[in-house]
Symmetry: D2
Subunit: 137 residues, 4 copies
């Protein structure tokens, strides 16, 4: 299932080229994942505070196609791309009236005290798999 | 005693006005305090990891006089401005060939577990007071 | 007239103390001013692109009272505090269920090409003064 | 030729997991490229101001292997990976006493006024090719 997250550019996200600095895109993707976790009923702060689980980033890929400028409103269409016992990944596409960028992130979970890698907790995995994993909606 | 911290502007610190975004100045000041703590022999990560002490910001004032641009090298002259049982403050002046900004920050310490305000730990206060507190060097 | 801007904490805005890093507050205030300019019908990107006007920060004061944590939703109540031919200022108060911080910013305008200080453009000043300047609503 | 860029973690680069937030790695890579351009005798602000050239990011890949923590000193070993008429790319490896991450970025140049893609300017390409392109030193 594809979710759509909408956002506008903050001035402080621009750089001296007059466009959004590329280091903000991983932050936008993180906002998407926060939106996703809320959407499946397990907000990230609950996952952290009540289940002692931190989500860790293992891999990040971004292709930048067109710049975002101050004043732009954009949407990010994203979806869970894969999930197994230990890993899950997301794909993202950013659009204004044209395609801005596409991205991919891969994650695992760690115990927030020990920082050891753990299996994706059942409470999280079940909620994620209720969605149409990896199939375009 | 006045310390001098030197730095150059990173491109990602600029904004679409072509200057360093103002939200980076508190970060520069934080770098100064890190440099200060190293300089008095008690690096902040030691203070946090071995003494369980977090330094908290209570007050921040900045006057912006001239912009910093990409390519600029600048120096920050700063010094401990005051210290008592619970509070301490710093003053900062940023220069290139002209004066860029001046700032002030006020702090206290908290126990990093309980987050409760504590007295400035003796180990820290002693080292800070060894310096010529609040007098221009 | 007091405006209210609501927001939640992004994970990337937190630091290793487990709270929102203080350098994000000036960014929240900037978001407020963007919201204000939209609210008076002159969005900042219009002011920049059509009127060639950049708004510059001259002074920033923040008092930090309580930390913001990941998962927090907060509101910023803010209002234009003063305006004259060259300068204008805003006051801000951040709340969750308790008071988090209060702030003050002072600004002027510059020509975005020459970067020279200019009077607050009439189109902007008129719209700002239509509001109940400096009086609590 | 491999260059080595050294750096320490700033506190404001950490997040509530107690590690450097992943969005800082692209910023570290940008610092490396700035260091590279200085090293070949064509600092980025000169390239921008005198040659009217902006370097744009087209692609970013990062594999995160181990976290960076506050207090860590790290080095980034990086090198130009490829260059042709329009594109060039870099590879990066971050180390403390263990491997932290590896990354890849691909770039092109644009005219900083028109924002149109241009060939890699001869002045830049010549200096880059003087190095041992794509071969480990």
């Amino acid at each position: 299932m594809t979710l759509t997250y909408t956002r506008k550019v903050n001035f402080y996200e621009t750089d001296a080229q007059g466009i959004v600095h590329h280091s903000n895109y991983p932050r936008y993707f993180e906002e998407c994942r926060g939106f996703y976790l809320e959407n499946i009923g397990l907000p990230y702060h609950i996952l952290r505070d009540e289940y002692n689980v931190d989500v860790v980033l293992l891999e990040l890929n971004i292709r930048y196609m067109n710049p975002l400028r101050f004043g732009d409103k954009f949407k990010i269409e994203f979806r869970l791309d894969s999930i197994d016992s230990y890993f899950f990944s997301f794909k993202y596409e950013i659009y204004t009236d044209k395609k801005i960028a596409e991205g991919f992130t891969k994650h695992c979970c760690v115990n927030s005290q020990t920082k050891r890698v753990i299996k994706v907790p059942k409470v999280l995995k079940d909620k994620m798999e209720l969605r149409d994993v990896g199939r375009d909606s």
